[in-house]
């Protein structure tokens, strides 16, 4: 049996997600200009500790392999350790759920680093969007570069092992890919490079931040050169139109093999589509997360064969799958047409979506702190 029919099986959906993203809170000490969840203020409807544990018990029952915990800044929650320990070190007899969590590092001091290092099946992704403070802090806020490096120093000193440095590729940091790799290597860490989506606050900053056509090609060449040594979360499959496929499943997993649980328990198709059109249900609905995953009309429809639409006549469609649903949606493009960063000659959209920013869909949730409106200079 070859690989293709199995990937087709995944496109048709699984009885349980392979993994899912769980944003634990909308609260955050930073206000990154490209925040995918428009985080800042805590939502009063945030899941309680008991509700969060119940969700984990359900995921355990479903044999979900791991959860990607994020936010907001997940370590803001006082029950952060209680929640992750319930996943990776459950009461005896219960299966474990792996945890990878993304953090800006603000709450990782020497003690916390030692506590994290003592946990198995836990992986940490420190977010960094520039290889120097000037590039990084412009996007992530003042002092955020130094904060992230201090956290990495603590993790290293605590013997955490190979944590991840997680970079979102932007127009300003694509020239720094080699420097990011060197930084990661210097820490004995692994570099993770993922694609910017026009989601959350990036709805407004996308046109300024997303990589140029030339940089798209540079990212592809660079990733091909580094193979499986650089993680990508399978996020660059739109670049496969340029040649041989990048490592990974190379398909959109939204509602098929992955999904998002937001801080108030709402279940969306993926972390990049916090919008009513992609809302499948809530973990507190009757039947819980399991019923949402197995029965929601939205998820069932995403598991149907998808129309190639305007891409049907393009020879690259099998390779790129038409790109990312979220990228199309939040730039106001049809879902069955080319990705806003389509790299084929026909789809040269160079910099901006043809749809004016004011005409594009807005995210369903905005927890941006009013007093700290991010400014991109």
């Amino acid at each position: 049996m070859s690989v293709e029919p199995l990937v087709d099986r995944l496109k048709g959906g699984l009885d349980a997600p392979i993994c899912l993203t769980w944003e634990l809170t909308y609260a955050c000490n930073l206000a990154c200009v490209h925040c995918l969840s428009s985080s800042g203020r805590r939502d009063p409807r945030e899941l309680t500790t008991a509700q969060a544990k119940r969700v984990l018990d359900e995921l355990r029952e479903l044999q979900v392999f791991y959860v990607n915990i994020g936010g907001g800044e997940p370590m803001v929650r006082r029950d952060f350790f209680e929640i992750i320990e319930h996943a990776v070190a459950p009461p005896s007899g219960a299966g474990r759920i792996g945890v990878k969590f993304s953090t800006n590092g603000y709450f990782i001091d020497a003690d916390t680093a030692r506590r994290l290092a003592a946990l198995d099946y836990l992986d940490i992704q420190i977010s960094l969007d520039g290889a120097d403070s000037t590039t990084n802090d412009r996007v992530r806020g003042a002092a955020s570069f130094d904060t992230a490096l201090r956290a990495m120093d603590h993790l290293t000193a605590a013997g955490f092992g190979p944590f991840k440095i997680s970079v979102v590729a932007t127009r300003h940091n694509v020239p720094q890919l080699d420097r990011f790799k060197a930084l990661a290597d210097g820490y004995g860490a692994q570099l993770r490079l993922t694609r910017l989506r026009p989601s959350g606050r990036a709805v407004d900053t996308w046109d300024d931040l997303h990589p140029t056509q030339g940089q798209q090609r540079e990212i592809y060449r660079w990733l091909m050169e580094h193979g499986e040594n650089v993680l990508t979360g399978d996020s660059f499959f739109h670049l496969n139109a340029l040649g041989d496929p990048l490592p990974g499943l190379n398909m959109c997993g939204a509602g098929r093999v992955v999904c998002l649980v937001d801080p108030i328990g709402d279940v969306y198709a993926c972390p990049f589509v916090i919008h009513d059109q992609f809302l499948a249900g809530n973990v507190n609905d009757p039947g819980g997360f399991t019923a949402v995953w197995k029965k929601s009309a939205l998820f069932l429809s995403l598991r149907e064969p998808q129309s190639a639409g305007a891409c049907a006549s393009c020879g690259a469609f099998d390779a790129c799958q038409g790109g990312c649903m979220a990228a199309k949606f939040f730039t106001g493009l049809p879902l069955d047409g080319p990705d806003p960063e389509c790299v084929t000659a026909d789809g040269d959209t160079t910099t901006a979506s043809p749809v004016a920013v004011t005409m594009r869909p807005r995210p369903a949730q905005d927890h941006t702190k009013p007093s700290r409106t991010p400014v991109l200079t």
Binding site: M1, V3, L6, R9, L14, D15, A16, I18, Q63, F65, Y66, G95, R96, G98, Y121, D123, L231, L249
Partner: protein, 93 residues
Amino acid sequence: MSTDLSPDLLNRPLELDPQVSVRPEPFGALAYHHGNRRLVFLKHPDLVTIAHSLAEHPSLAAALMANGIEPSRWPSFASAFRSLQQSEVVRER
């Protein structure tokens, strides 16, 4: 842990890597390695049964025999487990 990809894998004592979770699926199973983050397909239910029983037997061949797998199919199992060893789903013990 040995990374030696032995040609006579049938005679080796194997086990599932403790960092691996295996989940049954209609086509066989999915295996996920928490360390290297690889997702691997186990493409036949028999492969899953054998993988789970490896640690109870002195060798892959003994596991195959105990599970009633016809010797004519052993070479294809040896090849499948060699590939699973390469992706660190199983290891020598």
